[in-house]
């Protein structure tokens, strides 16, 4: 192309944006939901909803492990926190087979924090499915999927940079939105969501690539470590080495309660984790940890404030204050971006901030895709749209309303599929993909305004009915005390209602817009901001 830089960049932006926009949108939507991955998982396991933390919870967990695995090699108790109301029990069986397994994953159980009863939640992938989908897709070999996602992410970075270059008046138009002007309004909405949230878009894209750095750019590591990746991982992400007290002689352990109280006093924070090495034997040790102060350039694991006790006598062996070690600048840089991407440090308010920024990202990709169609429809001037325009319109529809509808189906399937169904978690995912496929078929059949109206009506009904379904099938719905005890449960249902209302508003705007422009199918998406201005 022999055009000016800006024209070449506009070309690059338009076509890389269109080709990878659909995949990027799916990544953005599922990735945004992943900020509430644990909350979604909790919602999808109603068997756990009654559990709540009490002062006796640690002792109940202690008794449960003494009952379940008194002779294990190690115990691991994760106490309830703000995001999970249950106790996670983990233990390593002390058998040769368990030792020989390369990973030594051990056994797990979920315990009711109030009663000490072992719970068996329904089989579901919960929020993890959506989270995994956003960087590994599904059913594609993992390595292929990750490469595909990385290529899309790289194009996103290209689109961000070329978009900034293409944007003629980035500062002059900073606050500009002109509603009711068709293509112009879409461009304004696309610019506004892109430019205002540019720091977020750049951060999420760049850190996304950084998280896959070993896969994308292995050469430096291979050169420095002579191809020994494991040695690199051991150096870069060290794991705590296990103490090896090898006595098999049985010996009773001291009461756990005073040790817990001591730890709580020492760090002035609630205890979150108890680890025991060689329980019920002579020389057993117990490490009791609290949460550490979040530090954005710090590591996730390994440096929580911990007291280590001799478990038979209760004597204090070691105090680990959990201060972060001095890390090299490059590692701190990596940690900064990784922690930002995963919102690891986030309290609920900050988590919502990231979620809303994620929605902004969805809106940016969606308005960009719709702009492509709006621009070409405007050029048609009442002629019939050609096959390619219809195809793009249909794919837009499937990637927006289709995916959103599929997510509602996924949640509904969680409540409706029988609990004892074999391969239940796979069936939930099948429901997700089948409904997505059906929406694509519908979109290809009706790639026009009518198709949009039908799909918008569909997702409005679906999202509004998820809380109703919850009410019909569980005891932890909006009108129950349980749901409000764990804010996440009420929050999930309220978010469904809110999003349903948003889709309904979008539907109203498109329907009211009148049938004057056939095949335009412009319709507001995602963020309320875009929604207000989108339809002309």
């Amino acid at each position: 192309m022999k055009n000016s830089l800006r024209q070449s960049m506009a070309w690059l932006h338009t076509w890389s944006g269109l080709l990878l926009g659909w995949l990027l949108l799916a990544m953005f939507v599922t990735g945004t939901s992943a900020y509430f991955r644990e909350e979604i998982s909790l919602w999808m396991e109603p068997e756990l909803h009654a559990s709540h933390a009490t002062p006796e919870t640690p002792e109940l967990a202690w008794q449960a492990l003494n009952r379940l695995a008194p002779d294990a090699r190690a115990w691991d108790i994760r106490l309830p926190d703000a995001r999970a109301p249950v106790v996670e029990l983990g233990w390593q069986p002390d058998t040769p087979e368990a030792q020989n397994e390369g990973r030594r994953r051990g056994e797990r159980a979920i315990m009711d924090a109030a009663t000490g009863e072992i719970l068996t939640p329904r089989a579901t992938r919960g929020g993890d499915f959506l989270y995994r989908f956003h960087f590994e897709l599904y059913g594609v070999p993992r390595l292929w999927a990750r490469w595909l996602v990385c290529v899309a992410t790289m194009f996103m970075l290209v689109a961000i940079i070329s978009g900034v270059i293409t944007h003629k008046k980035i500062f002059k138009d900073f606050f500009t939105f002109r509603p009711g002007k068709g293509q112009r309004s879409w461009l304004d909405a696309h610019n506004a969501t892109a430019v205002l949230a540019l720091p977020f878009h750049f951060m999420i894209t760049y850190s996304g690539l950084l998280l896959f750095m070993v896969m994308l750019m292995p050469w430096g590591i291979d050169a420095a470590y002579n191809g020994d990746r494991r040695a690199f991982f051991d150096d870069a992400f060290p794991r705590a080495t296990e103490t090896t007290a090898q006595s098999q002689e049985a010996a009773p352990m001291t009461d756990i309660a005073p040790l817990l109280a001591q730890t709580r006093r020492a760090f002035d924070q609630p205890v979150t984790r108890i680890e025991v090495n060689r329980p019920n034997r002579a020389g057993a040790t117990v490490s009791i940890s609290t949460d550490r102060e979040p530090e954005i350039t710090g590591r996730r694991r390994g440096s929580a404030p911990t007291l280590v006790f001799q478990a038979n006598s209760g004597a204090l062996l070691e105090t680990r204050p959990g201060t972060s070690e001095a890390l090299p600048a490059a590692v701190r840089f990596y940690n900064l971006f990784a922690n930002l991407h995963l919102a690891r440090f986030a309290d609920p308010a900050v988590r919502w901030l990231f979620f809303l920024s994620g929605l902004g990202g969805c809106a940016m990709v969606a308005t960009g895709l719709l702009l492509w169609v709006a621009k070409r429809t405007q050029q048609l001037k009442q002629r019939q749209p050609g096959a390619s325009l219809r195809l793009v319109n249909a794919l837009n529809m499937a990637s927006m309303t289709g995916l959103i509808g599929a997510m509602a189906f996924y949640f509904a399937a969680n409540r409706l599929l029988p609990v004892e169904l074999a391969q239940r978690e796979s069936w939930e995912i099948r429901v997700f993909f089948i409904s997505w496929l059906l929406s694509l078929a519908h979109a290809l059949w009706r790639p026009n305004r009518r198709g949009w109206i039908e799909q918008l009506a569909g997702i409005t009904v679906l999202w509004l009915s998820v809380p109703l379904l919850d009410m019909a099938t569980t005891g932890s719905h909006l009108f129950s005390a349980t749901a409000w005890q764990h804010g996440a449960l009420a929050g999930f249902d309220l978010a469904c209602l809110l999003l349903g209302a948003l889709w309904g508003y979008a539907l109203w705007r498109v329907a009211r817009h009148g049938g004057g422009k056939k095949g335009t199918a412009r319709q507001p998406r995602r963020s309320p901001g875009t929604a207000t201005g989108a339809a002309s």
């Binding site: 002059k172 900073f174 606050f175 500009t176 939105f177 002109r178 509603p179 506004a192 969501t193 205002l196 949230a197 720091p199 977020f200 951060m203 979040p294 530090e295 954005i296 350039t297 900064l336 930002l340 440090f345 308010a349 900050v350 901030l353 990231f354 809303l356 920024s357 902004g360 963020s527 309320p528 901001g529 875009t530 207000t532 201005g533």
Partner: protein
């Protein structure tokens, strides 16, 4: 409460910056601005943004504060953009009312 103050300050700061631009000044306040007036609004805008940054620094450690300041500015900017064409007067009034309300909130709580 401090988070809300930071958010309100970000909104007020961005509104002031918009008022420092000829196009938006006219639609928001309905008068033709002088250059000095525009400059005064721009200075006010940046000052408010600086205040917002101070709030963030009191809330979070340095690295996190800088990162989240961007996020708060984004969050404050989006409603502003979509209020401007529909309810310009409301947008301007909110820029006064929100920081006041949040300031009172911080003081009371």
């Amino acid at each position: 409460m401090m988070v809300w103050l930071a958010l309100a300050l970000a909104y007020a700061g961005l509104t002031a910056l918009a008022l420092g631009m000829k196009r938006h000044h006219q639609s928001l306040l309905g008068a033709k601005p002088s250059d000095a007036r525009l400059r005064a609004f721009r200075v006010t805008g940046w000052a408010l943004i600086a205040l917002m940054l101070l709030c963030c620094l009191r809330l979070w450690p340095l690295g996190l504060a800088l990162s989240l300041a961007f996020g708060l500015a984004t969050l404050a900017g989006l409603p502003l953009i979509f209020l401007l064409p529909y309810r310009p007067r409301l947008a301007a009034r909110l820029a006064l009312a929100l920081p006041l309300a949040a300031g009172v909130g911080v003081w009371v709580v």
